[in-house]
């Protein structure tokens, strides 16, 4: 009964030229289609980044291995980090945000649909530009032009002296360009959430998902710009003879680090807050209880947003900043642990006293809670600057941030993929394959990233293409590499599940999970206009109110 004339899971076989379909998708400004484009783009680059990681781990499986040359290895870790952060995690999170925010706040689209499309395509162009470096201008054979300066591109390694040719420029321009897309998306998210909520949805009544994306968008606006500025400075140095980071002319290598990490640290919160958004929607539904402490969760999120702008130099404890600066950044970094811990406790409080259903999304969210706890604790260890003088720039750090990005963010993203798959496609995924994915990935993740802490504690620095035998690192590197294959198998299972279920899965109705937010009130997949008529709501869980007219939420809200 919904007019799905341009939806893509049609009962009626329509014979339309394929070119028309492509044209529709390329020119779409519909937030749902753009969301799916972001997610598809990100999943593709996830495979690419995963292959890069696999090759690196194979090179490190034993000491003095010669699978790849040092030049190739250095390009691999640069591309892996840059790809995963800018062209996998950020796009997939923007994709979910784009798809779900209008549906959750009762609006028909984002505030600026054309800006939305522009942001996606400019980000996609950035990703393609980065990979064009493999072949552009004397590239190929050993991927000659791929950047090899590390994802944080410290000066003066990036100057023309130490990085001749164009590899660094591909890195700089690809991220600069995709940064414009990120800022565009952030503008869209802010304007949508602040200006287009449906009647009755005050800021205190919108889903936590929207709050988390609101703070994320604010961070993007403030954090991406310093990177843009620093990259413009780098280009001026490389091509106009500037001296921003030219130590021979009195310039400072440390100031690049400051500018980069002023971006880099809020960036990791940009990556993790949307993951929290997914968990904050999924955990309540599968615990059959509302989120515990909604107002405190909002306050903690805002606190995290503010404090995250003040912790950046904990990436620079070994740079020689002096005891005063080191002390300040120890304090701010440890302080951010408090609101973060509060969030874990609130999720725990949500599950407490509930009726927990172990569907695939919930399995991933439960694993997220355990893993994020560990990730946060290893973060506190590094917040202690003297401890960081040993742990920093070692495999301990690599283990820590992969614990956050894979163990927390990617796990929540998997949860979100399964949870909203029925809404986006109108079909249910296969639950058994979902569980297989979960267990395979869990085993692989822990094999790789639990044991990765140990070489760090035993003195193994990061970004090395090989290592000496006799340092006690050999067995751990072997185990770490073995874990990769479990993760790869799990991703394969995921892809098979998503693709098979898209074509052959059982039909899902509006609300397969018996959930409570507005996106579950529209058909699956939603019609282009989202809502037949814009809803008016009274509480944070409008569908709960409809399903429980004798016991609606608005009777109790007003309590924390």
């Amino acid at each position: 009964m919904s007019t799905n004339s341009i939806s893509w899971s049609n009962d009626v076989a329509e014979s339309r030229p394929f070119v028309d379909l492509i044209h529709e998708w390329v020119t779409t400004v519909d937030h749902k289609r753009l969301g799916l484009l972001y997610i598809g783009f990100a999943m593709t680059f996830l495979i690419v980044g995963g292959i890069e990681a696999t090759v690196m781990r194979l090179q490190l499986i034993r000491p003095h291995n010669d699978l790849v040359s040092p030049q190739v290895f250095n390009r691999l870790f640069t591309m892996h980090g840059t790809t995963m952060i800018f062209f996998v995690v950020m796009p997939i999170l923007f994709g979910f945000g784009n798809y779900l925010i209008p549906l959750m706040i009762g609006s028909r689209d984002m505030a600026f649909p054309r800006l939305n499309a522009f942001s996606f395509w400019v980000m996609a162009f950035g990703g393609l530009l980065l990979y064009f470096s493999l072949v552009g201008a004397n590239g190929l054979y050993g991927a000659g032009n791929a950047p090899d300066v590390g994802w944080f591109a410290y000066a003066p390694l990036t100057s023309q002296t130490f990085s001749p040719g164009h590899s660094t420029d591909f890195w700089t321009l690809a991220i600069l360009v995709s940064g414009f897309g990120s800022i565009g998306t952030a503008i869209n998210i802010l304007a949508t959430i602040l200006c287009m909520r449906c009647p009755g949805m005050s800021l205190g009544k919108m889903p936590l998902f929207a709050w988390l994306y609101l703070v994320t968008a604010g961070l993007v606006v403030l954090a991406i710009s310093p990177l843009t500025a620093a990259q413009i400075m780098l280009l001026i140095d490389r091509y106009l003879g500037g001296h921003f980071f030219d130590t021979q002319a009195g310039g400072s290598a440390v100031i690049w680090m400051h500018f980069f990490w002023v971006f880099g640290h809020p960036e990791v919160y940009v990556l993790v807050l949307p993951a929290f958004a997914f968990a904050s929607e999924i955990i309540p539904v599968f615990s059959r209880k509302p989120i515990f402490g909604y107002s405190v969760m909002v306050a903690a999120t805002v606190a995290i947003g503010f404090i995250s702008m003040s912790v950046w130099a904990h990436h620079m404890f070994t740079v020689g900043m002096g005891p005063g600066a080191n002390t300040f950044f120890v304090l701010s970094t440890m302080a951010i642990a408090v609101p973060t811990g509060i969030k874990i406790f609130n999720w725990l409080g949500t599950m407490w006293g509930g009726n927990i259903e172990f569907s695939t999304p919930m399995l991933f969210c439960i694993a997220f809670l355990f893993q994020f706890l560990i990730a946060g604790l290893t973060g506190i260890m590094q917040a202690c600057a003297p401890f960081d003088w040993q742990l920093g720039s070692s495999y301990f750090v690599v283990a820590h941030f992969h614990y956050v990005i894979v163990g927390a963010i990617l796990f929540c993203t998997f949860a979100a993929l399964y949870y909203w798959f029925p809404k986006m496609t109108g079909r249910m995924y296969n639950e058994r394959l979902g569980r297989l994915h979960f267990w395979l990935f869990l085993i692989g993740f822990h094999l790789t990233f639990d044991f990765m802490h140990i070489p760090g504690l035993l003195g193994m620095p990061r970004r090395i293409y090989t290592y000496e035998p006799g340092r006690g690192w050999d067995i751990w590197n072997l185990i770490i590499t073995i874990g990769v294959f479990f993760q790869a198998a799990a991703i394969l299972v995921l892809l098979v599940n998503l693709l098979w279920s898209f074509w052959r899965g059982t039909r899902a109705g509006n609300d397969p999970w018996d959930a409570w937010t507005l996106e579950w009130s529209v058909p699956s997949p939603p019609p282009p206009y989202n809502f037949y008529s814009i809803p008016a709501i009274l509480s944070r869980r409008p569908l709960w109110d409809l399903k429980h007219p004798n016991d609606p939420d608005w009777k109790y809200e007003g309590t924390p």
Binding site: A186, I187, L190, C195, M196, R197, P226, A229, M233, P549
Partner: protein, 197 residues
């Protein structure tokens, strides 16, 4: 089919801000962050050049051209007011005055750069002062150029009769950007010509 809530309680209506304003303020926020980094670099590198001309040696505060730019904020405000009153002709004239003042400012910048490069020997690659000065002032000038392009588009529309009083909202959003560009100049002027010398 989703319907409105079926209980007797009615939702409280809320006055939501307008999208354009929120969007433009967000953009201004992002741009402010970019400028902040360039200003920080400028201040950090004051006095650290190893050689070459110093700010005290070569900088002359462009008072007249700054007054022109800041006056353009006034003229654009008057243009907006005229449009609000329904007077499209007056709007056009004040709008044109804004563009003219902006162009005069850019001319002043160009003249100053010509003097610095050809007579004082200060270029972007001379020393740290040259790099930070031309980058900061250049970034601002770039934003002035972008603003002038947008303003010119609107002026051409108004000349051909396409601008109507109902467009005062869009004109206001664009004016916000122009006011931002002017406020950045206040900061840049203070840092470069007052504090830095």
């Amino acid at each position: 089919m989703i319907a409105t809530s079926m209980t007797l309680r009615q939702p409280v209506p809320e006055e939501l801000p307008s999208r354009g304003r929120v969007g433009m303020f967000t953009l201004i926020g992002a741009e402010s962050a970019v400028f902040t980094i360039f200003v920080v670099a400028y201040i950090f590198y004051l006095g650290k050049s190893l050689s070459g001309p110093t700010p005290q040696d070569v900088l002359k505060a462009p008072i007249f051209f700054s007054v022109c730019l800041l006056s353009s904020s006034l003229t654009i405000h008057l243009a907006g007011k005229a449009l609000h009153q329904g007077n499209v002709g007056k709007f056009s004239r004040w709008w044109f005055a804004t563009i003219a003042l902006g162009v005069v400012f850019l001319y002043g910048t160009a003249r100053e750069w010509q003097r610095l490069i050809y007579h004082e020997g200060l270029t972007i690659s001379t020393n740290l002062f040259g790099t930070t000065y031309f980058s900061l002032v250049g970034l601002h000038a770039f934003h002035v150029i972008v603003g002038l392009l947008c303003l010119t588009f609107v002026f051409v529309f108004s000349v051909f009769g396409y601008v109507e009083p109902k467009h005062e909202y869009q004109v206001e959003i664009l004016s916000l950007y122009w006011h931002f560009v002017d406020s950045v100049w206040i900061v840049v002027f203070t840092v470069v010509y007052i504090v830095g010398r």
